[in-house]
């Protein structure tokens, strides 16, 4: 069952802290225009179905696809909305893949769209509302509303990431300087990506370490911005993709394995992840996706990786957990330039989520950039030829993961 699925194109809107010139639907249409510009023989009328998603509570519209139907060209077309928080973009991309793979009659070409206009809402309240439901039960277990408010303000500042950073730093014995080095590489890369948000061509490690702590061990200079932006990807069948572009990118494996929540348990209980940097879900997702794609030695077979890392410690952690590097060696790779643009295994050459974070789009921009790197059409193109690449997403309460393995050759077995 199933068939081969290809990515034929991907597009972005410009990202910035305030895209005050456009409404949400107009922002989305910018990304669609950019996506279709790369496949001149295709028009919006040729799209058979749509898959969409964003993180609705961050910008105050429920199921915004209903409103933006016309702006996407989705009038009288099939449409499905997928949202999973931080991984939304990745989940939408996987949704686009499955929509093509399912071989539904008449549905061959899919536009997958992830977007977010965070300047419309209040990001920290949005983040607090992730945990609020679960924290409110504590009131019935003897914790007063005053104490709850305190807990919320402590948690909302940066959420669960700092706990994870402490865990990871202890495990791999890295210093804050190692973290800053990751940030510097990302922001330099962002400066060469036209749609990126925090473009800092002259940033130094000292600059990052000069900024104050937001919550230990993370500093202001290390965390991602809140951006407005959208991303669109075109999924289609093998045959159509060959007609549309020179190098069709095959999606060979996908995975989105969920784990128990970390830091905060549900229904007032304890949290199941004892070590938040262990990331069983990420390892299982990688296993699943690599298994489908027939990849046995990720380090040897993968040429490029885009991982979802709003915080530098996560970038180091993910590339280890996804099987690209030996445990606790990731920071060395940044020191020796393995992960740089002209390195052996370049990571996040778009600047990553660390430089541009429009939440609902972020996890889709990862596979989108990876696919463009394979096609040779990326904004900050790596000099070496990329055959196989991965795009990864992270979200939820450090428990949701998305993973997509792409290549210029089909390796997924159809049975």
């Amino acid at each position: 069952m199933g068939r081969q699925v290809c990515i034929a194109s991907a597009g972005f809107s410009e990202h910035a802290s305030k895209r005050s010139d456009v409404s949400m639907p107009e922002l989305v249409s910018e990304a669609i225009e950019d996506c279709l510009k790369k496949v001149p023989s295709m028009s919006i009328n040729d799209i058979d179905a749509f898959v969409n998603g964003n993180m609705p509570a961050f910008e105050g519209v429920n199921i915004p696809e209903l409103w933006m139907t016309d702006w996407m060209g989705a009038r009288n077309k099939p449409l499905m909305r997928i949202t999973t928080g931080g991984t939304t973009g990745g989940s939408v991309a996987i949704g686009g893949y499955y929509t093509v793979a399912a071989e539904l009659p008449g549905i061959d070409t899919i536009l997958a769209i992830g977007f977010e206009q965070q300047s419309q809402g209040d990001t920290s309240t949005g983040l607090a509302s992730v945990a609020y439901g679960e924290i409110s039960v504590l009131n019935s277990l003897g914790i007063t509303y005053d104490q709850l408010t305190q807990l919320l303000s402590a948690g909302a500042a940066i959420g669960v990431a700092s706990y994870q950073a402490t865990n990871y730093m202890r495990r791999s014995k890295i210093t804050e300087e190692d973290l800053a080095r990751v940030v510097v590489q990302n922001r330099h890369n962002a400066a060469k990506t036209w749609w990126a948000h925090l473009k800092m061509p002259d940033l130094t490690i000292a600059d990052v370490l000069e900024t104050p702590y937001i919550s230990y061990p993370l500093r202001y200079g290390m965390v991602c911005p809140a951006s407005d932006g959208a991303c669109a990807m075109l999924f289609t069948t093998e045959q159509k993709a060959k007609d549309l572009c020179d190098i069709p990118v095959y999606v060979n494996g996908v995975g989105s394995v969920a784990n128990e929540t970390g830091v905060l348990g549900y229904n007032g209980s304890g949290a199941g992840q004892l070590d938040t940097s262990e990331q069983l879900g990420a390892m299982k997702s990688a296993e699943l996706a690599f298994g489908q794609a027939g990849i046995s030695f990720p380090r040897k077979e993968i040429d490029y990786a885009e991982v979802y890392s709003p915080f530098p410690n996560q970038e180091l952690m993910w590339i280890e957990r996804l099987g690209l590097f030996e445990e606790n060696t990731a920071s060395e790779m940044y020191e020796t330039g393995v992960t740089a643009l002209n390195g052996e295994l370049p990571i996040n050459c778009s600047g990553g989520v660390n430089s541009t974070n429009a939440i609902g789009a972020s996890a889709m921009e990862r596979p989108a950039v990876a696919a463009l790197q394979i096609m040779g059409k990326a904004s900050n193109q790596v000099p070496k030829t990329v055959h196989t690449a991965i795009g990864h997403g992270w979200g939820g309460v450090i428990n949701l993961i998305t993973m997509m393995v792409m290549s210029d050759k089909p390796t997924r077995k159809i049975n």
Binding site: D21, S119, V137
Partner: protein, 153 residues
Amino acid sequence: MTEKIVVANKGLIKADFAFWVGRYMDKLFDAFENKKIVGNKCPKCGDVFVPPRKICGKCNVTIPFDQNWVNLPNTGILKNYTITYYKINDRTSRKVKKPQIIGMVQIDGSNTSIIYRLLDMEPEEVKVGMKLKIIWEEKPKGDPSDIKGFVKF
């Protein structure tokens, strides 16, 4: 077996939003400030839209921002209406004593309808197809509530 205990705790926080209207809608609200209505026209099918928009959903063509603007009159035709006793806002929906008549009005010269209250009318008087005229707020602020409603013309 012990008795089941289910608690229902109230929420605490509130999230505020400020929705960017974009350049196309901004132009409409600029006109609202002068108690006027503008629409824009699809270059392909010729339909005129109120509120103006970037893309014609029927033809899937982009309407350029710097052209195809159409000034529209303050009059229109009633296409549909309903009478409700509910008042809704972001926080609550509550029943009100006096019913409000809400009408779907096609502004003359446009091809779409907008939805506003019908004022100074008894439910029995309302007829689909009747001619209506906009009543503007005295001091328009440049937002959708500048149109107070429609009356018979």
